[in-house]
């Protein structure tokens, strides 16, 4: 199909790039004129006050917004040099290569094993039963949840605790071997200890994956990310990108006054 696939996985310094991206819900413009490039194998945090459209931006990178019938994107998102909003691009392929972890843990009401194996299976994983077992184990190990679940792979994914469920969802996402993983506030529904474990896990994952993470927790962004993009809401209620820089620079010497006010907690 599309020529997205003709590019190699680690083709360049940037894994995905938004150019002049605006997203509309019906006639309402939710975000406007976003220009962002995400470095390969780095963690980029998207921060900003509530309602500034950072989740909307994140979900644009695997065309998840398509599921909302009234939404529409203008501008370009380049993935391996190809605009993923072109008409000849199948969103199924984008989502297969750009995985996602959601705010609330949402394992399938199936067994733990099946939660991990299903994505691989529908995406044409051709291994034997042994290969599949190995893939499930490796994914669960990489998601740092193997030791918790190895004895109960046939139990429902819903029987796990919230933190375990979220790591299961991460295992599910990495089992299909995506290039990029989008994380939409992955720790917001979890307790502090689970949150910490997820943050550690993300650090591990960046060796193999490019990670985009939306968070409303500035400490988390400061601790866990290499780059940070700060979004704000304009007077027309549309979100826009205020500042984008390496995380330590953005937090230590913000160039924009609004950024400084936000990271010092004076609004948001």
């Amino acid at each position: 199909m599309s020529n997205v696939a003709t590019y190699s996985t680690n083709g360049g310094p940037y894994a995905i790039e938004a150019q002049d991206l605006s997203i509309y819900y019906g006639s309402f413009r939710a975000v406007k004129n976003i220009n962002l490039r995400f470095p390969t194998h780095k963690i980029t945090a998207l921060i900003g006050p509530s309602g500034c459209g950072k989740s909307t931006v994140l979900r644009a990178f695997n065309r998840m917004n398509d599921l909302i019938p009234i939404s529409r994107a203008e501008g370009v998102i380049l993935f391996h040099g190809k605009n993923i909003y072109d008409h000849d691009v199948d969103p199924v392929e984008i989502r297969r290569r750009v995985g996602m972890v959601f705010q609330k843990p949402n394992p399938f009401p199936k067994t733990i094993y099946e939660n991990v194996a299903w994505g691989a299976r529908i995406n044409g994983f051709k291994g034997s039963k042994t290969d599949m077992d190995a893939l499930v184990e490796e994914s669960l190990r990489d998601a740092a949840v193997w030791d918790d679940v190895k004895d109960k792979l046939n139990q429902s994914g819903l029987s796990l605790s919230g933190g375990q469920q979220q790591r299961l969802c991460i295992a599910r996402a990495i089992a299909t071997r995506p290039e990029i993983i989008l994380m939409d506030e992955p720790a917001s529904a979890l307790d502090p200890i689970s949150t910490l474990r997820i943050e550690e896990l993300i650090q591990e994952l960046k060796k193999n994956y490019t990670i985009l993470i939306v968070t409303h927790n500035m400490q988390q962004a400061a601790r866990a990310s290499d780059y940070t993009a700060f979004f704000n809401m304009d007077a027309d209620r549309a979100g826009y990108l205020v500042e984008y820089n390496q995380t330590d620079e953005l937090f230590t010497s913000p160039k924009n006054e609004m950024t400084e006010q936000y990271i010092t907690g004076r609004f948001g």
Binding site: N62, M64, L67, P69, I70, V92, E93, R95, R96, R97, G99, M100, F102, K104, N106, P107, F108, P109, K110, W118, G119, I122, N123, S156, C169, R172, A173, T176
Partner: protein, 753 residues
């Protein structure tokens, strides 16, 4: 904002109170306010409880009223009772058998005959057996020999009471009769033992005395002085009791009785015939069995009400010649064989010699014969008789014309005729109006049984009472019924029986069943669901998962589906009539596949009915499936799409498995709805009276609700009662189907969760 009129005081908003906390109740006011709220809650709780109770009461009343209709006393009359038919048939077989050496009412002659015949076997009362112990030997039955103990305990199967029958009128008119009976009871034990019969146990004797007191209208049994009585006494009946009665009469006369006592031994049956006739002249019947229903009816028809007095017991013995050295113990079945179909001894028991059996039996009027046949063949019903015998029974009990008509309807044998003739049959079948018998295969056993039931036995319920009155006013009902319907038998009857469920429909309510209707219902509901389920679920999936709800066209479709759920079902019937019965007739009649029923080649088939009902349940299934699909959390869809699943993979692997419970609940509701549907099926053309089971989707059909509806429309009370029973069947059927569906649903739901 409108300004307030100038002449009114200022309506400027009041300034808020300074301390808003004071606006809450304070101190005890807090508790008072909470108590008020709780009171309110309590009131509502009772309102809801009341609503629930009301619903339960209404439903219970409904159920009870249905049950009330389905059970109860009936006054039922038959032309000939089934047992009688079988007794008559077996008796005639016994009497007409080629190896009957002697058939006589004279027991002494029978005893002599067996004594002189080494291969002889006979039926004798105990007295004759004991009196001829040198030449005769009684066989034990099932290991039990006829003795006083086994007879009184009931262990000996051929033990029977010996009775005297008379009527209250006779006793009132002729005091000598009452005196003779009282005297009889006083000396019975002694005489019985002397002659060779068995005396009564004390409890039975006391019972008889009470009966006698009621008959005499006395409070205390008088001491009978025979010399005080005069007038004639005429006694007739059983040869078994003959000896005893003669002996009692002898003593009665010896003590000074002035009148004449005339005793004849004609057999119990003939005794009752004389007794029940208007001027029969018989005062007392010697009976070696209880009175039959038929005899009772003929007595009552002449305003005679027979009263029985048990005077002793007899063991009917199967006796052989004393020289017979092989037969000692037989089973009851072997006893039956010995006197019916077996011709030589080896046929009864393989170890016995293959010599001819010579039978010495009483005549057709004998109570002994009736008792023997009724006991040995007690478990037999029409179903046990061979086909040929049933044909014989039928032929013997209906007129020749009726028999010919039945044969014209459906033949008895493929290769020969029973009542019709080859010429007449051929002529009719080649004529202008061939009867159904020309094409139908010959009757099978079950349909012949049904024919005998309907034409020979002819059960007829003259009146029926509901369960409640049957329980609370039983005695009153029995008394009224005896008076109003002297020939009827009053007994408790369940209308809902296994027979009722397994019999086909019939024009005679007493013989009608619901098998045809149950099968029809299952077929129609099955086809309805088979067609309605995939279409309904498919439409729901499209509307929920694919269609863009913001498009006007889709919202119009949605609104229409919602409205269709409320359209009266008769409209669907009219639609089905037009589309399935008329337009698609070649398909729905099966003609296009060449499998249609040639006699009913039109579209009024199970297929049309099923498809019509499928239309009817479409909205229900669509709406409930839509609700179930809506209830699947969108986070699951997102998770699936996020992994790169296509929409179909998402629907098939996540949406449907999680919605299937709700979808199947909708299907259960739909099933409940169509199993009780009547109106659309009437329009589509359900058959009114159909006795053949549906054989496939192209058959004519009827369903349970249709059957119930038609029965309730009949004027006869009996149809109303079987309609009640059919309603219970319908409820049970629905219940079973629902349980099955719920089981399926839970099974699937568990596997997913």
């Amino acid at each position: 904002m409108s300004q307030p009129p100038p002449d009114q005081p200022s309506a400027a908003p009041a300034a808020p109170a300074t301390d808003l906390t004071t606006l809450f109740p304070q101190g005890e006011g807090i508790q008072a306010q909470i108590a008020r709220r709780q009171r309110n809650a309590t009131i509502w709780r009772f309102v809801f409880l009341g609503a629930t109770s009301l619903a339960v009461i209404i439903l219970t009343t409904l159920l009870l009223s249905i049950i009330n209709q389905s059970f109860g006393l009936v006054a039922e009359q038959t032309n000939i009772p089934e047992t009688q038919l079988i007794v008559n048939y077996q008796k005639s077989l016994m009497l007409e058998a080629s190896n009957v050496a002697l058939s006589s009412e004279d027991d002494a002659a029978l005893a002599e005959g067996i004594a002189a015949d080494a291969a002889g076997v006979g039926l004798l009362g105990n007295a004759y057996t004991t009196q001829n112990q040198d030449t005769l030997r009684a066989l034990s039955i099932g290991g039990v020999a006829p003795t006083a103990e086994t007879v009184q305990s009931g262990a000996y199967p051929l033990a029977r009471p010996l009775l005297l029958y008379t009527t209250a009128t006779t006793v009132a008119d002729k005091p000598q009769i009452g005196a003779f009976l009282a005297y009889y009871l006083q000396v019975a034990d002694e005489v019985m033992a002397e002659i060779g019969y068995f005396p009564l146990d004390e409890a039975t004797l006391a019972q008889q005395e009470t009966t006698l007191l009621a008959l005499l209208g006395a409070t205390e049994l008088p001491t009978i002085v025979p010399a005080e009585y005069e007038g004639d006494i005429v006694i007739a009946g059983s040869s078994t009791l003959n000896q005893v009665t003669r002996e009692v009469a002898k003593r009665f006369r010896a003590e000074g009785f002035q009148g004449a006592i005339k005793i004849t031994s004609v057999g119990t049956g003939a005794g009752f015939a004389g007794f029940c006739a208007v001027d029969g002249g018989v005062d007392i019947v010697n009976a070696s069995r209880t009175i039959t229903q038929l005899e009772l009816e003929s007595c009552r028809a002449n305003a005679l009400n027979p009263v029985a007095t048990v005077v002793g017991a007899d063991a009917l013995a199967v006796v052989v010649n004393a020289q017979n050295d092989f037969a000692t113990d037989i089973t009851l079945e072997q006893a039956g064989l010995l006197f019916s179909s077996a011709v030589n001894w080896a046929e009864v028991d393989a170890g016995w010699p293959a010599e001819a059996i010579n039978r010495y039996i009483p005549t057709t009027d004998s109570g002994t014969m009736d008792f023997f046949v009724a006991t040995v063949f007690a478990a037999q019903t029409l179903a046990d008789l061979p086909y040929d015998s049933l044909v014989t029974v039928f032929q013997a009990n209906v007129s020749a014309g009726r028999c010919r008509a039945a044969e014209a309807e459906q033949r008895f044998y493929a290769d020969r005729f029973v009542c019709d003739t080859e010429e007449a049959f051929t002529a009719r079948c080649e004529g202008e109006n061939p009867t159904t018998g020309c094409t139908l295969a010959p009757r099978d056993h079950a349909s012949l049984e049904a024919l005998v039931q309907a034409e020979v036995i002819q059960p007829e319920v003259l009146q029926a009472w509901f369960l409640a009155e049957s329980i609370f006013r039983r005695d009153e009902i029995v008394a009224t019924a005896l008076e109003e319907y002297p020939s009827a038998d009053v007994h408790f009857r369940r209308w809902l029986t296994w027979d009722f469920i397994t019999r086909p429909q019939s024009a005679t309510p007493e013989l009608a069943g619901v098998r045809t209707a149950i099968l029809g219902s299952l077929w129609v509901v099955g086809i309805g669901l088979l067609a309605g389920f995939p279409v309904g679920v498919g439409a729901a999936i499209y509307l929920e998962e694919y269609a863009n709800k913001r498009k006007r066209f889709n919202s119009i479709i949605q609104t229409n589906i919602n409205n269709l759920a409320g359209v009266p079902s008769i409209i669907y019937g009219l639609l089905g009539l037009t589309v399935f019965v008329r337009v698609l007739e070649p398909i729905t009649s099966g003609a296009i596949f060449g499998v249609g029923d040639p006699t009913t080649a039109n579209g009024r088939t199970i297929l049309s009915a099923g498809l019509t009902l499928a239309l009817l349940i479409l909205p229900v299934i669509i709406i409930s499936s839509q609700e179930a699909i809506k209830a699947v959390p969108s986070s699951l869809r997102e998770a699936s799409f996020g992994l790169g699943a296509t929409r179909w993979q998402t629907i098939w692997n996540h949406v449907i498995p999680n919605a299937i419970g709700g979808i199947l609940t909708g299907v259960i509701l739909a099933m409940s709805r169509i199993i009780g549907e009547t109106a659309p099926l009437v329009v589509v053309g359900a058959a009114t009276l159909i006795t053949s089971d549906p054989s496939g989707p192209f058959s004519k059909f009827t369903t349970l609700p249709i059957q119930i509806y038609q029965w309730t429309a009949r004027p006869q009370q009996t149809f109303l009662l079987i309609a009640g029973a059919a309603i219970i069947v319908l409820i049970i059927l629905l219940f079973i189907l629902n349980i099955f569906a719920i089981y399926l649903r839970n099974r699937y739901a568990r596997r997913i969760g």
